[in-house]
């Protein structure tokens, strides 16, 4: 996307939402390998049960990685200065996630324009899984 279009974002505008395929066990196994996070709570159902859970649960960072894509689909990566996430609820197998973002504040400092985004991931029952924020800096 060209800078002019990004420059048109106003407070209250939403970025296009990102829909994620249903979470599967193989997605978690693949993410464990790719990230190096082999905490068995995400891949071993016996361990998960021993830890008091009904089943394996998704890595929070996998969910955050989906959300990251919702931002980088719109903003050039070098414009992203801060990105954070609070993991509110566990993401389970078969959950269908949607990632959203909204511009909540804009500050201009000379030729620099800062956009503050509020971010949210929720499932198809409306349960919030993750809330986050990002700071974007555009040079005009």
């Amino acid at each position: 996307m060209i800078l002019n279009e990004l420059n048109n974002y106003q407070i209250g505008d939403e970025i296009p939402s990102l829909n994620v395929k249903p979470i599967t066990r193989s997605m978690l196994a693949s993410y464990a390998g790719a990230s190096g996070d082999h905490n068995p709570i995400h891949i071993d159902i016996d361990f998960a049960k021993k830890s008091g859970l009904a089943d394996v649960i998704a890595h929070g960072m996998l969910v955050m990685s989906f959300l990251a894509q919702a931002i980088t689909n719109i903003f050039p990566q070098d414009s992203i200065k801060k990105f954070d996430a609070k993991f509110i609820a566990i993401t389970n197998i078969n959950d269908i996630l949607t990632c959203k973002g909204k511009v909540v504040d804009i500050k201009s400092e000379g030729s620099l324009k800062k956009l503050f985004l509020e971010l949210l991931v929720f499932d198809d029952s409306g349960e919030k899984k993750l809330s986050g924020s990002a700071t974007i800096e555009l040079i005009l």
């Binding site: 993410y31 990230s35 890595h59 955050m64 931002i71 689909n73 990105f83 609070k86």
Partner: protein
């Protein structure tokens, strides 16, 4: 009650080589659709020296050691009892395939909420590249499920 005296405890530096294949694997596992993250020719045509690391890729660096959860062991917390509560990143420089990163970490804050029923631990890291430039900082906070 967790041992508060471990706040600020530092951990040995980790050296991490950002391999092209690893970036492709990570892009696939996180379902990235932007070819900047897995197609070197595309990345070069779009002004990048090679494949770019996604903004959550730094999570992999800390796991590249024999005992990635050593700080939890030091605090006597079983790994099955923790959940990731919060993750924060501040970015300064892009990370590309071929970069050699250095990560330095320490235990940040250890605190309670809800009258001691929930314990939180934050783990603070900074990452430099082969040019000794600070590329990013992260704070990872876990919550202990007191069963």
């Amino acid at each position: 009650m967790l041992d508060q005296s471990l706040m600020g405890k530092t951990y040995p530096k980790i050296i991490f080589l950002v391999e092209k294949q690893r970036l492709k694997f990570f892009a696939k596992a996180t379902q990235q659709s932007d070819p900047l993250y897995f197609d070197e020719d595309f990345a070069k045509r779009n002004g990048h020296p090679t494949i770019l690391a996604p903004i959550t890729f730094l999570t992999t660096v800390g796991y590249e050691q024999e005992k990635p959860y050593k700080y939890l062991q030091d605090l006597g917390v079983p790994i099955g009892n923790i959940l990731h509560a919060k993750q924060e990143y501040t970015y300064y420089e892009p990370i590309y395939a071929g970069d050699k990163l250095q990560m330095e970490s320490k235990i940040g804050k250890i605190y309670e909420k809800k009258e001691g029923t929930l314990d939180f631990i934050s783990f603070i890291s900074n990452y430099k590249n082969q040019k000794d430039l600070l590329v990013a900082e992260s704070v990872s906070t876990v919550v202990i499920r007191n069963k």
